[in-house]
Amino acid sequence: MIPPLRSRNIQQGWVRQLPLLGCRRNPEDSTARRASRFTLTTTPWKSGLILLLGIVVISQVSCRKERKVDMATREKILLLGNGDEPKALDPHLVSSVGDSNILRATLEGLTTFHPSDDTRHEPGVAERWEANDDYTEWKFHLRKNAKWSNGDPVTASDFVYSYNRILHPEMAAPYASMLYFLKNGEAYNKGEIKDFAEVGVKAQNDHLLVCTLERPTPFLPDVVKHTTWLPVHRPTIEKFGTMTEAFTDWQKPGNHVSNGAFQLTEWRINAHVKVRRNPHYWDAENVKPNGINFYPIPNSFTEEKAFRNGLLHYTYIIPANLISQYQEKNDPSLRSETYAGVYFYRCNTSQKPTDNVDFRRALAYAINQETIVKYVKMGGEQPAYGYTPPSEVGYKPPNVIRHDPDKAREFLKRAGYESGKDVPEFTILFNTTEEHKSIAVAIQDMWKKTLGIEKVNIQNQEWKVFQQTLFDMRYDIGRAGWIGDYSDPTTFLGMWKTSDSNNYTGWSNLDYDRLLKESSYANSTEDRYRILAEAESILLDEVPILPIYWYTRVYLISPDVKNWNPLLLDNHPYKHIDLVPSGKETE
């Protein structure tokens, strides 16, 4: 009687999935178009079902069939979980840890990381280096056998070109401030100087790079390991666009030319980034793995499942509620290490209500960091009462922001709000992962309980979108994490200088800027740390940031992976990492 109705019944996913109920219908009724619509609307359910079946099948079959990790171990291919999909594979555009993990495999800087000691510098493209007496001029002697993956030699002018590119105002590199160590680097980046020749980096000859610095910097060899100081291949960049053009095709596999131990061979969005041995690498015979696959898996639960099912050697993170399970089993694949990083919220100080310093203080003191660490994060992190993590050698950061409901309420009054109900609506923005969501929900409820603020929204965004939103300062409160780039407190404190490219809060304090500048001219290290601590207490007094916890790296790693040592900055030089079949199932 009513044919369209019958065919509509077939579109009901539930009915379709249960043949018991579906058998009464006549499937011929559905036209091709409806069928396609059906597939579209129900795909997530279907794929979920298939995934579930897949997991069951895999776990059943796994004892008979070789697992993916075992095969990869045999072929010496590292399978690494790597957080989010990379924003770019261009050292001048990235600022996240996951992206720089990939770049560390493909590109090599002047110095590189030591496999077990953060404070030591391995020679990279530079064979040796020396500084003048006050550490303002550094000479890097480049090795003659360093080559790009297409066979071209790596020369000092490649580095000069790269530093020009990242500092060029038109490039608008988010992390350009890492090169402000160079004399006139900042001025050039801000457009005050037009001529790059005035910037303190010169190629004396093909194999001698001279860096003249703005201020005495004894830790420069540490700094040049960073992603932003990596070289790029000039002919490749210019083949696909001008020097300052961002996101061109040069970073695609096939086009990408690199000088590191590995070269990019495959990049499938949201699937994987594959790098394989670079035959032209100067130290190629000592590179242990044949290749690395980086998997962007933003959902830590999925990642943990993948690890358990033998699809990964290493997880980027592990879901909080699974840590205790692994601890109970005494599973050797669970590792927990100190990590020089801080998890905090940025406040947008250019707009209401977070422009009010007392309001920000109220928010900061209402967060119970201990509760979050103990019950929400559960990875053995330390509650952050200040900003710079305590692991920095010799530096004593002021730890002043301790949970204090009374103080928080007092600051709220001082900010001009009689009760939390008067506070205008604002939003906590975070990038889509389960951990960030749990923390955001917990903090939202703390503000509600302590301050009575009712209208706090929570919003998540995909990583790339999220980074752009922060960069454009279209947020109220934004989740943030900062991992040290080198072993010195300035890696944490430097970003809060007025209009630093990683500031994103609009916060500016001239005293703070002045103290940071002063610190580089201090007579002794103790004196320098004292000045930096003074600067940090200004930061913690005006709280453009709400500290939450200091990181601990908790992750899963297969026993097959050798030479993966605990590192404070977690920058593992992949060429030293070996894969040996341990014969042990990681389950």
């Binding site: 009687m1 109705l5 009915v15 997530p44 359910w45 389960e434």
Partner: protein
């Protein structure tokens, strides 16, 4: 004399309306009746129970009381005594009240989006079917075009453009779901419009809109009711899918879909988080589908009067 006729009239078999017949037939279908009562009960529980004092706020966290088992009671570090009927989640929120509040969202989406699709679909279909000709062809081709567009992408574009707004979500889903309704009503109206009662209405000089709204639409009510009961679960499922993808309700609020997603992530360590909302959601969808099936059988005028 008059009374005699009256008495005589009583002897004639009493007229029985379509609705009454349908109700009698539906009553015989135990599965459909059971589903009806179950659904009514779920709706009442979700919308009324949260007003009962003692049902905890679904968004209050007690981080120290996480993953509590069902039927447990504990005192949090803030000194609040909490009783968890169905246990607590990873932030110590009460699962039972989250399911209740989540049900409000899911059911509201179901009803509101269906209402939107019903309004647009019935009017659009009736107008198209009754007027016919070129207008009908144009209107139906427009429906075809919309059909061809992938629904998920439209909703994703709309939510990114207008932001994650729950009310917008209702409208979005409703605005996409009316297509089939329009086709059904159009088909009905075409088969009805040449029947005698429409000709009679036309010969009385009634206006087009009056014929459509007073004579044609009431006659399509059978299939429309059936289709509506089937749209409600479809819409709830869509909302669940969207919430599952992170496009639906925003935390800390929940819908059944988002609860199931959170539960699915934690099913290894905390199966209750997945099982309870999934059971409730599944049963609700089943009950609506069974009810829809029963109504279709009951309202089908061709099925024998027994």
């Amino acid at each position: 004399m008059i009374s005699e006729i009256h008495r005589h009239g009583q002897d004639i078999e009493k007229g029985s309306s379509l609705g009454k017949d349908a109700w009698l037939r539906l009553k015989k279908n135990h599965l459909a009746m059971g589903s009806l009562w179950f659904f009514v009960a779920i709706v009442l529980v979700c919308f009324l129970l949260p007003f009962v004092p003692g049902i905890p706020n679904p968004n209050i966290t007690h981080p120290d009381l996480q993953s509590m088992p069902a039927f447990s009671s504990a005192t949090s570090m803030e000194g609040v005594n909490v009783f968890y009927l169905l246990g607590s989640d990873h932030l110590g929120r009460d699962i039972f009240s989250r399911i209740l509040y989540g049900g409000r969202v899911s059911l509201s989406v179901g009803f509101l989006a269906t209402a939107v699709s019903l309004t647009i679909g019935v009017i659009y279909g009736a107008v198209s079917g009754y007027i016919g000709g070129r207008l009908d062809a144009a209107m139906m081709r427009f429906v075809d075009i919309l059909y061809a567009l992938p629904f998920m992408i439209i909703v994703i574009i709309l939510t990114t453009y207008f932001g994650n707004n729950l009310w917008l979500l209702f409208v979005c889903i409703g605005a996409v779901e009316w297509l089939t309704m329009a086709r059904i009503v159009r088909g009905q109206v075409i088969s009805l419009k040449n029947q005698e009662f429409v000709e009679a209405a036309r010969s009385l000089g009634l206006s087009r809109s009056r014929i459509i709204f007073r004579h044609l639409i009431p006659n399509t009510v059978g299939p429309v009711i059936v289709y509506t009961t089937l749209t409600v679960p479809a819409v709830m499922r869509l909302e669940a899918i969207l919430s599952f993808l992170g496009l639906g309700v925003q935390p800390p609020d929940a819908s059944w879909g988002s609860l199931i997603k959170e539960g699915a992530d934690r099913m290894a360590s905390d199966p209750g988080l997945l099982v309870y909302p999934a059971i409730i959601f599944g049963l609700t969808l089943f009950s609506l589908n069974f009810l829809g099936d029963g109504l279709r059988d009951a309202l089908d005028p061709k099925s024998s009067k027994d």
